[in-house]
């Protein structure tokens, strides 16, 4: 494999994985933030009680 082909392959892998993982983060992140808020709310409740 020549250097230009190798770097093209590396770039395609980098770009596609960036797009795919970003999509997964965008979708799954919302649920995780809700979960974090719930945990923080519980902690706040414990602190104030």
């Amino acid at each position: 494999m020549s250097w230009p082909s190798f770097w093209l392959f590396a770039f395609v892998v980098a770009f596609l994985s960036f797009v795919l993982i970003s999509l997964v983060i965008a979708v799954r992140g919302v649920g995780e933030i809700r979960e974090l808020f719930r945990a923080l709310e519980e902690e706040r409740g414990r602190r104030t009680s």
């Binding site: 960036f18 970003s22 992140g29």
Partner: protein, 587 residues
Amino acid sequence: VSTGGIATSFSLLDGSIAALSLAATLWAGLRVKRYIGTIESYLVASRGMGLYVGAASLLSTEVGIITFMYQAQLGFVAGFSAFVVGLITLAVCLLVGRTGFVITRLREMQILTVPEYFERRYGRGVRVLAGVLMALGGSLNLGIFPIIEARFLAIVTGIPSRYLGWTMAALLLVALAYTALGGMVSLIVTNYVQYVLLAAGTVAVTLVCLPEVGWGAMVGAVEGHMGGHGFDPVADLGAGFILWQVLLWIALMTVWQSVAMRTFSTRDAAVGRKMFTLTGFLFLGRALIPMAWGIAALAFFWARAEPVAAPAGATPGAQIESLDARLDETFREDLDAGRLQRALPEVDLLERLAREEKARSPEAARLEASARDRRGEIGLLAMPWMLAATLPTGLLGLVVAGMLAASISTYAGYFLGWSSIIAQDVVAPMLSGGTFVGAVPRKASELTGPYASPTHPGVSSPDGAALPGHTRLFLTRVTVVALTAFLMVWSLVYDLPGPAYFYLQVTANLFMAPTLVAVVGGLYWRRASAFGAALSFVLGAGASLAYLVPWLELGVATAGNLSWALAVAGFVAGSVLSPSRGAEARA
């Protein structure tokens, strides 16, 4: 692109998109401040961060406009060889993620900052020494971000230079507002929004600019204008550079405070490990995508290059001097107007002529180096000028919104990271007084006695008892404000003497090598001692500063590798000469 320069198509619509994204970020960041009540919720979000928001937070903190700029610059000057840095980053992330090297043990100890580990392992003196070096290097490192990023915004948005200072101040104040009030919780929420924006902007730029130039043209530009270089990283950058990058990235992924804080904020060590495995591929994109933009910019401006003839002169030396004098008159103006199609061939010609002549003339050698610096300057601004020339109205707003999101998330993450070290590891230990000398714990299960805490069984910060939590929280918030003020002043008064990349590396090198050496030694070597750790910091930082001594003529990679070698040598020698008391007791 005309001979008059480049005019951006940034419009009111673009400005509105960017302003709206800033307002949404600020709103989201401020909304969560009610959750902050303890220092632990403020600095590590009560350790409740999940995998995907963790990955978003890590990436958006470590990607700013400055990241896009220096990566594109590296692609512009080194061609495809620069991509090796991205491959190294991926390999290091996978190594850390799969093995849990350093991060698992640090996460299990439930610490808030990396120097806090030093107090537990070596004593308060090492914590404060490390804290001072990290705070100094980190703050100076952050100090040039606004200077560089302002240039990007000026080019892409066309903001007049007299308003740039105010624009940057407004960005810093947005980051300050939600970081000071909401700490890590605000960061996690805003980082998520910012990541989505920056990812959208990154994809948009790639899909517009790369097809505009074409991959074949990029390969052709590297083949045609880099003198046979630009593809083989070992031949172009050298094995020393690659070794140094490997070490640097291991340190960045394990003990760089803003990264380590994400590790400390995860729900548990397993989530931390998965986060690094996942972000490895994002870090690959963080390097390769903007580097490809830089190469695209190289091809873009070479394709439009104006023919340049060697100036008249009786001798090659006279020709070179005449060309240099011409560049002195036009270079700055060309750079500021985006006339890179004129500046680039002239700089290229000067560099070639000077290279041919340098064996006979020291002046030619100086001018060759000067031409190289100018090529680097063009490389820094070529990508933003290409964006200004190619992106249409509307899309430009989305890209600027993404870039601003990247930038503010980096400011916010670094504000919290470096201010936590200043407050927790420099100021608080001094205010609380006394010196803690404990056992030699190497992992969470070994932490006993003064570390025991009802909230975190087996683990507690020794200075926690001396300074109440609310005082430490207040101290950290005050430090965030002070750091922002420093940044505003520093970016106004400091004039960057050379390439930004070198400045960033030298300031980071000040503490990176000894920090990793002292952490790894402390975790995995029983004989490691406070004297060894302190010696490692002194020698490692000294070697980095040697880069600034002109008569030593050290290259940045040599100074970097020397810093690592001396940090290891000092650590081993110091620990052998004066072993830790714990090791003696066990012996």
